[in-house]
């Protein structure tokens, strides 16, 4: 049976990037329905992140007429209209329909404009899934980054902007980096500006959200010569290793930061001592597999018994970031265990 593609639409992946950039207009070349699906989804997620306004998304509102006669003329006019709004950047995203009828979106985007116009090839299923759109958008936008004077700082690459806890994850990474004395240069792309993207080359290290972002990390390494770490910190031991790794990459002594974090972890584990010897069950399924090693690490530290018939506790994938993420997770475990 053909199963639903959990990875989602390429267009959604790209929109999760372009709608984060301040003063960027995203133009979707396709039927209004495609744009609505995504606009509504983004509106929901933005509302849950307390953003007041939905992102600026335009649609060429392609109808049967353009499907039959072609939509390039309509796209050209739409780019012109978008430019009249005087944004810093216009990102043009194509859809399945535009690709199926053979519109040359790239050619239209090359027409000189007063505003930079970037075509991100996102022809729905033709371009791959959500992840492909996410990666494609980041790589396309990185063209604006140039070489600049490098300081000991990091870029955060490929944050999952549609994650409910994206800002909590960011704050945790910043907290850990602050322990090391390492500032964030650019978040690529949460809340970024075009000027910020231009400054990408100023960091000494890129930290990827997770290993799925390696194609972006490799691309930036090739283009800007910046090495990368392939994940935000996950798990108790992983968080300490993250501090050591970042410190080493930035030539900073991590020992004080590691000691402070170890002390915090001991305090957190102590808070949840009533969980000790409780029986828990982790959710089954492929989605939970990647998170399970962090779950078992936590269970061992807390002296929990993982067995069938235990209290079903959540094991989110992606796993919460850092020690603060573990603390929030343990609150949920405690509620499930009635401890």
């Amino acid at each position: 049976m053909a199963t639903p593609n959990d990875d989602g639409c390429t267009l959604t992946g790209a929109l999760s990037v372009t709608t984060e950039i301040a003063r960027c207009v995203t133009l979707i070349h396709g039927p209004a329905g495609c744009a609505h699906h995504n606009f509504s989804l983004l509106h929901a997620l933005h509302a849950s992140r307390d953003f007041a306004l939905p992102p600026p998304v335009l649609s060429t509102d392609m109808t049967e007429k353009e499907v039959i006669f072609g939509g390039e003329q309509m796209l050209e006019e739409a780019v012109f209209c978008a430019a009249e709004k005087k944004p810093d950047l216009i990102c043009v995203l194509s859809t399945c329909v535009a690709a199926a009828i053979g519109d040359d979106v790239e050619a239209v985007c090359r027409i000189p404009s007063v505003v930079p116009v970037v075509h991100i090839p996102t022809a729905g299923f033709l371009g791959g899934g959500f992840l492909a759109g996410h990666i494609q958008a980041l790589i396309s936008l990185s063209r604006f980054a140039g070489q600049c004077e490098r300081v000991p700082s990091v870029n955060l690459i490929g944050e999952k902007t549609l994650e409910y806890e994206v800002d909590e994850h960011y704050r945790e990474v910043v907290r850990l980096l602050t322990l090391l004395g390492a500032p964030v240069n650019v978040r690529f792309v949460c809340g970024a500006t075009l000027d910020g993207i231009r400054r990408l080359g100023g960091a000494s290290l890129n930290i990827l959200r997770d290993p799925s972002m390696r194609p972006v990390g490799d691309h930036l390494h090739r283009e800007l010569g910046i090495p990368y770490i392939d994940s935000f910190p996950l798990g108790l031991g992983g968080t300490l290793r993250f501090l050591e790794l970042v410190g080493r990459q930035l030539s900073l002594d991590p020992s004080a930061a590691v000691a402070a974090e170890e002390a915090l972890q001991k305090e957190v584990i102590g808070t949840f001592a009533p969980l000790r010897r409780k029986r828990v069950t982790f959710p089954a399924g492929p989605a939970a597999e990647s998170a399970s090693r962090f779950g078992y690490e936590l269970a061992e530290t807390l002296d929990l018994e993982v067995r069938e018939g235990g209290n079903p506790v959540p094991l989110p994938d992606p796993f919460p970031v850092g020690t603060s993420g573990i603390r929030r997770l343990l609150h949920r475990w405690r509620r499930k265990c009635h401890a």
Binding site: P4, N5, T10, G33, H36, N38, L58, S59, T63
Partner: protein
């Protein structure tokens, strides 16, 4: 080019999926990309399937992907509905033929062309409804169908419960509920129908009236009681007068302190007109504008199209209402006004109980929300 800044209303495909996924026994298969599947799957909260077409299918034909999907789900449902999205429509495959060749009459399968570029949500919903092999049972005289129920509508559950309550009070039984609740693809239709949403009237059965706005409810309940109660009825004699008195009293109290609001309404055309009429009648509200998501189909008040965020903002900037009824898009576009949510989507709030918009309780709930929102807004402005 008609500029479309932030489209606010779903396409015909979503309308069709909303309709058919509300019918028990039907397995809905979206024949298209995962992107077309994801939105209805997440907003309808109903299990649906997708053929997840890839570029390979586009080149070599989508039939194999469809057959694989049908093979995987047949036997779980008494009927399958294949909704063809934009891409199969563009490449022009004869999906009916593919299905007939593979399955003949062994599986009950409806095939519906529902490309998003070809129509709006309401058209997709009603087209899907008309594709169902429904039978009208002329002998079912003691029950009434309820139509206009859509899983996309945040009020569908409350509307269904409220209209069922009123039918019971009027001495009638509830017939087919199009398309939610216990309605199945093998349900037979009763000979008369009440509209929970005047913008999604099915055309099945003799219409008894609509249930949005207290005036419409009064008329519809009157028709119901004429038909089912030989000596008048408790709803017209007691329930509606009591509800109306409470509304009048609350509005009167409000007007002792505050001026009536200047209101902008956004949503489906006929529903918003009915609500506007109620606000005018009981609260003396000025109707600044009605922005319609669907093509207006008559009605007493002027309506303009407002299907995208840019147009909504333009209208709100022009009218500067102090009360907005609409979706959370309008709430975001006009944070300075009082707001009441009456249109999907309603994001950023927790909604657990079955709140109605239709019927007597729906009218009361709406007036209560309007008065509370207006009072909070007036107090906040001081």
């Amino acid at each position: 080019m008609p500029e479309c800044a932030g489209p606010l209303w779903p396409c015909g495909l979503t309308g069709a999926a909303a309709c058919l996924s509300g019918v028990r026994g039907i397995g809905v298969i979206i024949h298209g990309s995962a992107g077309c599947y994801f939105y209805p799957a997440t907003t309808l909260h109903s299990p649906i399937y997708c053929t997840s077409l890839s570029d390979h299918d586009l080149i070599l034909g989508t039939g194999d992907a469809l057959v694989r999907t049908i093979d995987g789900v047949q036997g779980r449902h008494s009927m399958l509905a294949v909704l063809c999205t934009c891409t199969p429509a563009i490449i022009g495959e004869d999906i009916r033929q593919v299905i007939d060749e593979h399955y003949g009459a062994s599986v009950r399968i409806i095939v519906l062309d529902a490309p998003g570029f070809a129509g709006e949500y309401e058209a997709g919903f009603l087209s899907a409804l008309s594709s169902l092999p429904l039978l009208l049972d002329v002998h079912r005289q003691n029950s009434v169908n309820i139509d206009g129920l859509s899983l996309m509508d945040p009020f569908w559950r409350g509307n269904l419960l409220e209209i069922q309550r009123l039918l019971h009070l009027a001495g009638a039984e509830c017939g087919a509920t199009l398309c939610a609740g216990a309605f199945s693809c093998d349900s037979e239709l009763s000979s008369s129908t009440i509209h929970a949403n005047p913008d999604l009237r099915s055309g099945f059965g003799t219409p008894l009236g609509t249930m949005i706005g207290l005036s419409a409810v009064k008329k519809t309940v009157g028709a119901l009681e004429d038909r089912f109660c030989s000596n008048g009825g408790v709803i017209s004699d007691q329930v509606i007068p009591d509800a109306e008195e409470r509304v009048i009293s609350a509005c009167d109290k409000y007007q002792r302190r505050f001026d009536p609001p200047n209101v902008a309404l956004f949503g489906q055309s006929l529903s918003m007109q009915a609500i506007a009429a109620m606000l005018t009648e009981y609260l003396g509200a000025e109707i600044a504008c009605i922005g319609s998501r669907n093509s207006p189909s008559g009605g007493p008040l002027p309506v303009e199209m407002a299907r995208d965020y840019g147009k909504v903002q333009e209208i709100l900037d022009r009218e500067r209402p102090d009360l907005v009824l609409g979706s959370s898009f309008e709430q975001a576009a006009c944070p300075s006004a009082a707001f009441v949510g009456v249109t999907a989507p309603l994001r950023g709030t927790v909604r657990l109980h079955a709140r109605p918009l239709a019927g007597i309780e729906g009218s009361l709930a709406l007036m209560e929300s309007v008065l509370n929102a207006c009072m909070d807004h007036q107090k906040g402005a001081r």
